[in-house]
Symmetry: C2
Subunit: 190 residues, 2 copies
DNA sequence: TTATTTATGTGACCTACATCACATTTCAGG
DNA sequence: CCTGAAATGTGATGTAGGTCACATAAATAA
C-alpha cells in the first residue's frame, strides 16, 4: 500500500475529507526512510516534526543521569511519534526517538500541522481526537504503573501488542515496563 | 470574580474570541456547587460532563480490587476534570471524581463540547491545546514514576503545588505519589 | 566462516517500600 | 466543650525488585 493510502485510511477513521482536501492535507507530509538504530530525534535537538509511521518500529525514550533508559512509547505502523513537549513548547528535546527496525515515516512539521489545523477545521478535529487518545492511553498506563506489579504489566503489554515480543529486544521491553532486564528475564521464566 | 470572567480569562490564554462568540461559548456551561466529600462522578456512572473548577479542590481517582485508592489528578481552580476515557468512549466511569473541599464548577456536556468544536473553529483549537497539555503533563508524570523514587516525587509535587500541602490530607498526597501513607510520613520526617 | 560485540540467563545479596499493629493527634458533629 | 471518628506517627517485619557478577547465547562485522 502507498504512503498516501495508509495515511488516508488512518485519517478516515476519525474524519471525512474530500479527495481535494486530503490531497492538500497530504501535500504537507514528507516521506523519509531510516535505518535500524538511526536517531530521529536526539536529546537537545530542536524539534520541528512529528512522525507518522508507515512501516517498521520506532521507540521514544528518556535517558536519565545514570544513563538508564525509560521507554515512553513504541511506535508501530499508523502510530505517531515525537517529543510532544518540545514540539509544542519550542524547548529542546528531552525525549529521544530512534528506530528499532528499518522504518518509513511521513514527517509533518509543527508549522504545517498548525497551518492545516487553521485551514481545515476537520484537520484540527482529527488532531484533537488523536491527542485525546494518547492522553487516555498514557493515563491508563500511569494507573497500571501505580496499581500493578511488573508481572501484571508484562502480561498486559503482551496481550495488547503480541508482535512486540518477537521484534523488540527484551531489554527494551524491560525499559518500557520500568523494571531491570534481569527482573524481566525472571518474570517470564516462571 | 464571576464564573464567566474566570472562564474567559482561562480561555483567552489559548485563543481569541469576540465577546459575542464567548457569550455563546459560555452559554453552554452550567454553574454548580458541591459540598466537601460529595461525589461528582462515581464508578459505573454514565459520564456526560466535564468540569471546569472555579473554586475549591477536586480529585480524580481510581479504586482497585483491594479498595486501594490511586489519585490521577488534583484539580484546582481553572483546571478541568472528568473521566476522559468514559467521556470520549461512552463507556461507564472507571475513574471517580469528588470534592476535597467545597467547590464551584462549570459543567460542559460532551455533546455541547462537540457542538462548540463544530461551530467555533477556535473552540476546537482550544480543546486540542488543552488536551495536549494534559497529555504532556501525564507523560512527564509517568516518566517521573519510572525514574524517581518516592522522596523525589514528593519534593517535585510540593515544589509544583505548594498549596496542596496545607489543604490536602497526607493520605491523598500518598495516593497521588503511589506510596503508602506510612512511607510518606517517614519521608518528610527525615 | 570466525571474531567481536551485544543480548540474555541466573545466582547472591541489598534496599526501598509495603504491610500490620498500635499509639497519638486532629477534627467534625452534637 | 466534649466525644467518637478520622488522620497521622512510628516500630517490627516481609517482599518485590534492584544491583553486581559472571556465564551463555545470539547477532553483526570482517
Amino acid at each position: 500500500m502507498q504512503p498516501k493510502e495508509i495515511l488516508k485510511e488512518h485519517v478516515s477513521k476519525t474524519i471525512t475529507l474530500t479527495d481535494e482536501q486530503f490531497d492538500y492535507f497530504f501535500s504537507h507530509f514528507t516521506y523519509k526512510t531510516f535505518k535500524k538504530g538511526q536517531t530521529i530525534i536526539g536529546e537537545g535537538d530542536k524539534v520541528d516534526c512529528e512522525y507518522f509511521v508507515l512501516s517498521g518500529y520506532l521507540k521514544s525514550f528518556f535517558i536519565n543521569d545514570d544513563m538508564k533508559m525509560f521507554i515512553l512509547q513504541f511506535a508501530m505502523p499508523t502510530w505517531w511519534a515525537s517529543d510532544y513537549n518540545a514540539l509544542y513548547s519550542g524547548e529542546r528535546a528531552t525525549v529521544n526517538v530512534d528506530c528499532i527496525t528499518d522504518a518509513e515515516v511521513l514527517c509533518l512539521t509543527s508549522q504545517d500541522r498548525e497551518k492545516l489545523c487553521r485551514e481545515i477545521h476537520e484537520g484540527e478535529h482529527f488532531f484533537r481526537w488523536r491527542t485525546n487518545k494518547g492522553y487516555v492511553a498514557t493515563q491508563k498506563r500511569l494507573l497500571s504503573f501505580m496499581n500493578n506489579d511488573a508481572k501484571h504489566r508484562y502480561e498486559e503489554l503482551l496481550a495488547q501488542y503480541p508482535t512486540l515480543y518477537n521484534i523488540v529486544p527484551k531489554q527494551l521491553i524491560a525499559s518500557y515496563l520500568g523494571v531491570s532486564r534481569e527482573t524481566l528475564s525472571r518474570l517470564y521464566h516462571s
